[in-house]
Structures are given as structure tokens and as C-alpha cells.
């Protein structure tokens, strides 16, 4: 819903802090998720994610959430699917070039970003969207990503340790 989505941007700071805590928690629960099986979890978790984020952000379930990089304004609501900032067509009143009555998703993102303590993340270049992930849970994908990073780091440390 448009009004809820704009509320979410106004409260981007609080939502970001909440999400950081939530992410730490779900990453810690990795052994539990593994026990149940990620594949079995995929559909129900994706459904819950869609409900929560759909309500708050008009989430489009791209499966690679960038809300923390976009001031809590979902960039998939941009009619051009821009992941890296506003296009040159933004109207002088800050509305979208394509949808005249909608505030530009990236004008919102820039506002939301000022409210977040990790304000520099909007400046990072985002990779092309992987459309094969559409509909999947980005929460579960994030947990596996963090796990994978930890494993890679661990093996790298072990191998340098051996060299010494």
C-alpha cells in the first residue's frame, strides 16, 4: 500500500535497526534451518516474507532484497527497476517520470537513507538483478550467504595458518 510504504521510508532508521537484529537472529538459527531443510522451508518462509514486506514496502519479491541499501524504499517499485539511483527523468516536484502521481522511489530512498545510521550503503554499486531468483525468500538466501562467507573466511584462515 502506497501510504504504508511511505510511512516505512519515514521510519527507515527504526526499521533498519530492527532488521539488523532480525538478520543476526535468523543467521544464528542456521543449524535449526539446516535441520528442517532449506528446501522445505523455502515456500512457507517466502510466503511470510511476502506478506510482511508486501504490506510494509510493496515488496515485489525479487529474491535479492536491497532495502538496507535503498533507504527502505523498494527499488523494484521503480517502473524502470532501477537499482542504483534515480533516472534523469524525475519531475521537478520529485514525482516519477512514468507514474505522474507517484513520488519517485529514489527520491524517497534518498530521504530514507538520511535516517539510517549506515547511510553510505546507498552509494555502493548494485549488481544486475538476477531474475531467476524472483519469488524466492531473500531472508533464507541471506542466511546462506552469511554462512558461506563465514565458511570461506574460516578455510582461508586455516590455510594461511598452515602456511605459517
Amino acid at each position: 500500500m502506497y501510504s504504508v510504504r511511505r510511512w516505512a521510508v519515514r521510519h527507515a532508521g527504526a526499521l533498519d535497526r530492527f532488521y539488523q537484529g532480525f538478520e543476526t537472529l535468523i543467521v544464528k538459527l542456521h543449524p535449526l534451518w539446516e535441520k528442517i531443510g532449506y528446501q522445505r522451508l523455502e515456500r512457507p518462509v517466502a510466503k511470510i516474507e511476502q506478506l510482511c514486506k508486501g504490506l510494509l514496502f510493496d515488496c515485489k519479491m525479487c529474491g535479492q532484497c536491497a532495502l538496507s541499501e535503498t533507504g527502505m524504499s523498494c527499488s523494484m517499485n521503480c517502473p524502470k527497476n532501477l537499482r542504483n539511483g534515480p533516472c534523469g527523468g524525475v519531475r521537478q516536484n520529485g514525482n516519477c517520470e512514468v507514474k505522474e502521481d507517484m513520488r519517485c522511489v529514489w527520491v524517497e530512498a534518498w530521504d530514507g537513507n538520511q535516517k539510517m545510521h549506515t547511510g553510505e550503503r546507498i552509494l555502493a554499486v548494485q549488481l544486475p538483478v538476477d531474475f531467476s531468483k524472483k519469488g524466492s525468500s531473500s531472508w533464507l538466501s541471506r542466511v546462506r550467504e552469511v554462512q558461506q562467507q563465514a565458511v570461506t573466511k574460516h578455510t582461508a584462515e586455516q590455510s594461511t595458518g598452515k602456511q605459517q
Binding site: 524502470k80 542504483n84 512514468v98 529514489w106 554499486v125 549488481l127 544486475p128
Partner: protein
Amino acid sequence: MVIHDEPTPGEMLPILPGHSSAGRLERVLRAGHFAVTAELAPPDSANPHDVYARAELFDGYVDAMNATDGSGANCHMSSVGICALLTRIGYAPIMQVSCRDKNRIAIQGDVLGAAAMGVSNILCLTGDGVQAGDHPQAKPVFDLDCMSLLETIRGMRDKAEFLSGRKLTDPPKVFLGAASNPFAPPLDFRPHRLAKKIAAGAQYIQTNYCFDVPRFKEFMARSRDLGLLEKVFILPGVGPMASARTANWIRNNVPGIYIPDAVIERLAGAKDQKREGQQLCIELIQQLSEIEGVSGIHVMAYRQEESVAEIIESSGVLQGRVPWYPGRDEKLLQERATS
């Protein structure tokens, strides 16, 4: 079958050390000359001579010409097609690539094809929405955005691989550019977005129409504070407006064009509005060329392409330099012999 009147293909120049491309535009910019680029009006026809006639208008005044990719979401001859024709006779096109109409598979294929034909400059754009053009029923693609497009082509050039990681045997040696609109909200974000484009691979920037010099100066000052001016060549966009009415129409109907009221009032108050529009354009070029970090100018003379040569000449920015065009050197030799 033997074709006797085969056109002489444009030969590639050698790539100089530290350069990404074999192109003249990169050479001119890196040598510190004030560069001039102009937008070629794409024909609504399948006749190659329409392209050549339009290119000829710029002879001796531009270092490269932009082949637009369905600009304003209107259908015209494709940028790849125009570039193919232009490179055949040695012109230096800037191939515009928009993300609106093609996905990553089509775009990467076009980049290889274009580079093989001798295209040395590519301009990466997101593209106007389909609602702006003559086919609002079309499906907008937007698979990549201008930023990921820059990264993709840079990867093809520097890592010699497709976005998928599959290897290329010969990478496309292209000079990569992007657009910038310093006049659209959120204004504070614009210099940061420029920084992102540079991080993604932009080597030169062409901006949208620049009518508000103080606002542009502010943008340049912020960009300088971010340390961007040494990393990129900036060519602000200018163009003559035919009348106050045209300017007003463009302001209201073409996405992303900011024209202050003062400009429209000045045009409306003039006896010969077309002449005044050209005079304003000349003055803007002169003012913009004085700003720190401006490396050239990009002229978009929509439906007034024939006035570009005179505008550039009157502005004096080329300082007597004559950019290459087919037959330039023969003509200069002849002139020298007769004088």
C-alpha cells in the same frame, strides 16, 4: 559478383598507451582539447543516404556524433544500424545503448557487433519510459540499469568476459560513457550518483540540456569536492530552442529537461525567436566552457541540426581546430596548395 563502387571501410587507428579505445574522441579528450559532440537525428527510413546527409551537416565541427537508441522512446533507425553506416566511411559515432528495449543477451551481442564494425564509443543509458514515446503499448524491458550496463560492458572490455563469466576471444575496445542530469531531484544525490557511475566504469559524461548555469556550477563544485573531476571527462549538453513555445512544450513533455522561466521569457521577448535561441545556445557554450572540469560540449539541436556548425563556429570553442571528417585532409592540402 564484383561490386566496383564498394565504399572504402573506415580503418581503425592504433590504440595509444593508457587509452581504452582506438577512437578519436578519447584521443581528443586525453590530449586536453575541448571536444565537441553532437546528436545525429535518426531517420525514419531505410535509406543510408539519410544518415550520411545528416552526418555531413556536422563536418569539420564535431569529434563524435551520438547515434541515439530510440530516444524519447520513439522508434527510429537503430543505433547499431546508424553506427554501421557511419563507421563504414570513417566517422566516429557514440553508440547509445538504452536498457529499455533490450535485455542483457541482446545488449552484449550488440556491443560485440558494434566494436567489430569499428565503434569506439558507447554511451550507457537507462532510457526514457515507453509512456514518453510513440509506442506506449510496448513492453518495457529494463533488465539492466545504466549502472549495471556500464559494469557489464567494462567487464567485457577489461576482463574479456560476458556477464555470465564466459570468455571472449577478442574484447570490445570501447571508451565508456554515461549520462547525467544535474537538474533533476534529488539534487544532493546527483553528484553521488555520478560517483557511482564512475565506479561502475564511466570515463566520460554527457549531460542533459543545461540551461541553468548556476545550478550546473553547484553540481560541478560538489563533484570536485568528491574528487570526481580528475576521473571523468564532462561534456554538458546544450541545444538551440526554436521558440518559447517549443521550449515550453519540451519542458512539459520530454522527461528530464529543466528549462528555467527566465529562458522562456527571454525567447518570448525576442523579435526573431529562432535566432535568439541560437544566440542563447552560443552564450551557454561559452559560459559552460569556462567552468572547471568541463572538457567539451554536447550539442543536441533537435530539428535544427543544420545550425550546429554555425553555433560551434560562433562560440569559438574549437579555437581553429578542425575535427576529422571524410575528405578533410585532402581539402586542407588543396587549400594550402591554392593559397
